[in-house]
Structures are given as C-alpha cells and as structure tokens.
Subunit: 264 residues, 2 copies
C-alpha cells in the first residue's frame, strides 16, 4: 500500500530535500529511517525539491510498503528514528495512483524577514535579517499584484527551463508581526527560485527603492533582470501542499483518523 508522509524540516544542515550526488539531503535521512524501520531499503517520491537551506513544515513524500503498522502510527515510528531537525507531522494511507507531484497541487510558502537593527539569535536560522525599515503595507500592495494567472518568467532563476512559465497565484500578501515582516503566497506551482526572487523584489519595494506598481511592470517584462535579487534561502518555508482534487480520507477513513490522545 502507498503511504503519504507530511515532512517538516529545518533545512539549515541539508543540501536540499532531494537526494543528490554531493552532501546529505533530507530525503537521504528519511529513507535511512524507513530502512531502519522496515529492515530493507525503501524508496520515496517527494512533492517538492526545496533548495539547500530552505525549510518545510508541509512537504509531502510517499512510499509503497506492505506493513502491519497502522498508517497513522508510522509518523511516530519514524520520528523515533529521525534527528530532531526532521519530523514527520502526519502519515496516512493513499491510493496507489496518488503521486505527490503529478496530482494537482496548491502550495503555500512563507518568507520571513526580521526587520530591526539586529537579527534575533533565537530565530536566526528561519529568518532573513533586513536592517533597513520595510513598509509592509507597500509590500502587501505589491504582493496583491501577482494574484491571478500570469507569466512569471521575470521571477524564474536564469537557466530555468519548463514548458511554460505561466502559473496561477491564488493568494499573496505581506503582514507585519512585531519585528517580523512575513510574505505569504499560495499558488498552483512555482518556478525555480520564484518565491525567493519575489521576496527579494518585495524587499526592494519595502525599502522604497521601487513603488508597489513596479511589480506589475516587472511581471510584464518577462525578464529575470527586471526583478530584484534572489533573497536568502533561510527565510523560506514551504508551509503546506494541498491536493484539492484528492481525498484519501474518503477512500481510507480509518487510516487518516487522528490520534485520540494529543489531538486537539
């Protein structure tokens, strides 16, 4: 049977989510824990290859395995075998045709900026420090301009190739919480480095280098050089991946039932 995992991690010490030739990726550590649990190698398929240093609260991975462990208990069994910077937040059964990438998805990212004189040492690995005062209202105004279906070619890392650079953004906004300015964006897909380039552009708007209307001009340019710099990886968190057309809880109501204890 196919098991879906919700994977959270502090990306600071990993070379991204997906296994690669150089360095340890989150996927390597997850597959090692699965091998420990099941006594033989287990391959996983991940939903999102996050870059080195990028974090996640809701990345998704699946694997196929017959087991007598209840699907919802697999999260507990894996967490007992994982280091503290990776946690499986949920595990449930899905149908064998569920694919974490080819299914239609809605992804939400957040980019956190600590906006005061000095970084906060307690949250330094999950925030980008911005010294110059940011006008969160202007940034929010600019962020709203990317909502809808657009060609985001200006916000793709140069060298990125894909069939299309058109994506749909369902929601985007910037809010201030104390000394933190947070950019939140939800869409049906993101080009390579897109959220970090959007964030770098929003920082330039927030410091007053460009007015909020500039966002629309940058979109229309369809040219990477029109946008701002790529913001640091460490401020970025993949918050959630939803599968709006897929409802495993209908197929397997027992496996997706939460824990009675510890559940609110």
């Amino acid at each position: 049977m196919r098991i879906k995992l919700t994977v959270a991690y502090d990306g600071t010490n990993y070379h991204g989510y997906q296994s690669q030739v150089n360095g340890t990726a989150v996927q390597d550590v997850l597959e090692k824990a699965l091998e420990e649990l099941f006594g033989e190698p287990v391959r996983t398929m991940g939903a999102s290859r996050t870059d080195a240093g990028v974090h996640a609260l809701g990345n998704v991975a699946v694997f196929d395995r017959e087991t007598r462990i209840a699907p919802s208990k697999i999260a507990f069994a894996l967490n007992a075998r994982l280091p503290g910077d990776i946690r499986i937040m949920d595990s449930c059964r899905v149908t064998d045709d569920f694919h974490p990438r080819f299914q239609s998805t809605v992804k939400t990212y957040e980019y956190r900026m600590r906006n005061c004189r000095f970084p906060n040492p307690l949250t330094r690995s999950i925030e980008t420090h911005v010294y110059y005062p940011l006008d969160a209202e202007k940034m929010n105004e600019a962020a709203k301009r990317i909502i809808g279906e657009h060609d985001f070619a200006s916000f793709a890392a140069s060298g990125f190739s894909s069939n299309t650079t058109v994506r749909t953004i369902y929601d985007a906004g910037v809010r201030r919480e104390g000394d933190c300015v947070i950019f939140s964006v939800t869409g049906n897909g993101f080009l390579y480095n897109m959220v970090r380039i959007l964030s770098g552009t929003l920082i330039e708007i927030g410091t007053g280098k460009y007015p909020p209307e500039k966002m629309t001009a940058i979109l229309e340019a369809r040219d990477r050089s029109a946008a701002g710099p790529t913001a640091l990886a460490k401020g970025l968190v993949l918050k959630e991946i939803r599968y709006p057309d897929y409802h495993p809880e209908d197929a397997f109501p027992e496996s997706s039932a939460g824990e009675a204890v510890g559940e609110k």
Copy 2:
C-alpha cells in the same frame, strides 16, 4: 565610563550565561569579543546567570572602558565579532554606580510549550514539546494565583539558599498562540529554577492532573515537593530586565539615542 549591553542568545550550545570552570559560557564568548575589540582583557558583570540551555533576549551586562567608539555603536562592533547565536541588541552609557544586579530590577520570562503531536523542527530549540492537550485557560487561571508578594519556597530548587524566598510577581499569565502555549511572568526577582518549576507545575494543571486552585495550596505549602517537576531549560527565555528606578537616558541623552537608520 560604564557601558550597558542588552545581550540576546540562543543558550543551546552554552553552559549558561556566567563563566564557570567547565564548558563555555555566554560571558566567555562576550568577553573574548570585547578583548578583540579593545585589544586587552575586559571584565563584564552580568545581571542574570541563566542556566545551561536557557535563552535570553534581554539579559544585561556592563563593563568599564574608556573608548572613542560612540556607546550606541559598540553593539555593532561587538556583533561583528560574535557568533550568530549571541547578539548585542543595544549598547548605551550608564553612570558608574549602575550595577546590573544590585539595582532594583523587573524581569520578564517566557516559557514556550509546543502542544501538538510532534515538535516543530524549526523551533525545536526554543520550545518544550508537550504531547498531551493543555488547557491554556486553566493554566492562566492558575498563573494568576501567583501574582503579588508570596513566599515561593515551593518553587525553588532544593538546596537553594537565600536570605528570603519571598518575591513579588507583578504579572503572570498563560496564552495560546496556535499550537503554542506561552507562560509569561514578570517579577522583582526569581529563585533558582523558579520559572521552570512554575512551568512544570502549570503543565500538570494544563493536562488536568491538578485543578487551577492547587496553585494556591502549593504556594502555601512552602515545600519544593508540593510543586510539579522542573520543566526543560530549552523552553525558557529571559525576555527583558527593566530598571524602573534608573534612567540613563536622562544622564546621557546622546548615548542612548537609537540609530536613525534601521530604527522604527
């Protein structure tokens, strides 16, 4: 002249704030940075010896040194020489009679509990994970019972000795923010391990082991064994130390002026 530093740190990798025989303390690293900056050893006096693993956003240290660096710029100069887990959030001049401990102080601590099935890997070093559901309202009701002047002998680590175990708590409360339950407490002083024992007791009340009224009975017992366990160090943050009777900005208005740039 005497300089006052506001010291923030992630205590995870330190043997507490104050220098000691074994292991590296925050104070050691701070004094090393001061020595690098001034070219000779500089001794500091700290306000609060936090335990190994306890964090701070607003501990206070002072040192005496003639220098042509503007007092407010010393924070920048030190931060350039400190590791990322220690930041000087502010520096200003104080009068030579200012002592960070003997001055009357108002300290605020926060204790953070992540209350869901699994810890959050992004904030795992600054939160204590509590699996069982916590009733934050009942915890808040219990916390309110410690406000005022009381003998806190029940909440001092055994072996702790002091002239008196009477302290005044000005404010205390528990609130929920999403999956986090946060205990905040402000007082004129705290016994050894007092906030962690209060937190451990509040957790027992939050899980329903004891009713909120039990807090008053525990206070009146004046006996460590009446209270709950000492909660883990990593959930505790020393947020702020105020000196209500001391106003250095009146004595040295120029030195305490904030930076024009980066200041909101």
